[in-house]
Amino acid sequence: MGKRLFGILFLCAVVFVIAGGSTCLAKEKVYINGIDANFPPFAYVDKNGNPDGFDVKSVDWIAKKMGFTVKHQPMDWDGIIPSLRAKKIDMVASGMSITDKRKEQVNFTTPYWNIDQVIVAPKACGRTVDQLLSGGNRVGVQRGTTEAKWMKDNLIAKGKNFVLVEYDSAPLAVEDVLNGRIVAAAMDDAPAKDAVRKKAVKIVGGFGMPSEDFGYAIRKEDTELLKMMNEGLKLLMADPYWEELKEKYKP
């Protein structure tokens, strides 16, 4: 009796785990796009919990045009390149800047968006960027981003006197600007504009970081997929829908 009960329990546990795992394994032909759902307006989840955003809708359009199915998988930004390399996902179309360092690990499509990095501060703040990035001030940034690395290498390492505070996402950094724990936050201009539309913050200006290009990241060995995405991007950017997307998401 006792043994049988354990047997049943064990079976339950095994079936449960396998059932959970197989949902991902069963659909082989579906491409999975890993997104940072804390990155509006490029990638976020909408009211009904569906992935939405400029990049999400772009890839949806390309998928339809090129004849494949795509599923958007929200995940942590920190682990997104390891996830891509470990084949948990097949691409990252989620406002990823093309950098030499990342190019060593993954391939990028042709650039589709040019982005500047800006400093965001409370609306009432009267200080300039130089004043904010000095005097031992605490400045927020999203962990694992190009701007975090650039600020460390080019500002702090060269004697600028401020402290970089790292956050899980840009919106959390904005929240802490409003809380007053940090005087300002550095981020891409698109999410900064999104924050300005929703909260009492303003864009103070750039901080000297060269502008960057966004591209879709794809595993090195998936050259077929890279070719397909490049072709799709070319078609999309020539299509009126591209302007529609820009109008809708205002990146």
Partner: protein, 222 residues
């Protein structure tokens, strides 16, 4: 204020669907922990010297390494090393289950140790095999005695499951975070997530309390 409430109201169905994911993760982990934990406890109490030692190291490992480290270790490390592609959900269930098995084994071990030693000898004297005596005499009492400790473990695993958000499992915490990023309403959303966790804790511990009463043997004391 009203704006926060509107956002919260709109996000509630989405968060509640996340609670189903949370429940699934916790149920899977607790079941896996239960099955493994019972075996570990029996092995640690009645096993030979080497078995006891191996189980001791197992318990040490899973109680000693932080959950987040184990999640990353299994998800990115072991899965790539062994070339198996498990989903974030599956890895979360397995890791939480293995950790829980270490804790649960000690709950069960404590319960077994609290039984009078003469019971097993009496069962043996009646001609039962060791396995049969453990399964029919020791474990039915052990499991009853373990329910209070087990409900403690349930509430801990429930809250630990929020860490699975780091792997991208779409449970409550991840969803609250995503909605907060879109709407910039951090306070009401984290509050709502916390409240939903409290409700799940209440329902689970209450259910176990009822179970405890249901399986109690009137007049029996160990």
């Amino acid at each position: 204020m009203t704006e926060s409430l509107i956002v919260l109201y709109g996000a509630l169905p989405y968060l509640l669907r996340g609670s189903l994911v949370t429940i699934a993760v916790v149920a899977g982990a607790m079941m896996l922990g239960l099955v493994l934990g019972i075996h570990l406890a029996v092995g640690q109490v009645y096993g030979g010297r080497w078995l006891r030692r191996v189980i001791g190291v197992y318990v040490w490992f899973f109680r000693g390494v932080p959950l987040l480290v184990l999640l990353f270790l299994f998800y990115f490390g072991l899965c790539s090393l062994l070339q198996i592609n498990l989903s974030a959900f599956t890895v979360s269930v397995i890791v939480l289950g293995l950790i829980s098995s270490a804790y649960q084994s000690q709950i069960f071990r404590g319960a077994i140790m609290s039984l009078p030693q003469g019971q097993l000898k009496a069962a043996r004297a009646l001609g039962m095999s060791d396995g049969k005596a453990i399964a029919l005499i020791i474990l039915p009492q052990t499991l009853r005695l373990s329910i209070p400790g087990w409900s403690n473990e349930y509430s801990i695993v429930l809250k630990d499951s929020a860490v699975a958000y780091a792997l991208g499992v779409m449970e409550m915490m991840a969803r609250a975070h995503f909605v907060a990023s879109r709407t910039y309403e951090h306070l009401p959303l984290y509050f709502a997530a916390g409240f939903l966790f409290m409700i799940l804790t209440y329902l689970g511990t209450k259910g176990l309390r009822i179970l405890e009463e249901k399986v109690r043997i009137p007049g029996y004391s160990a």
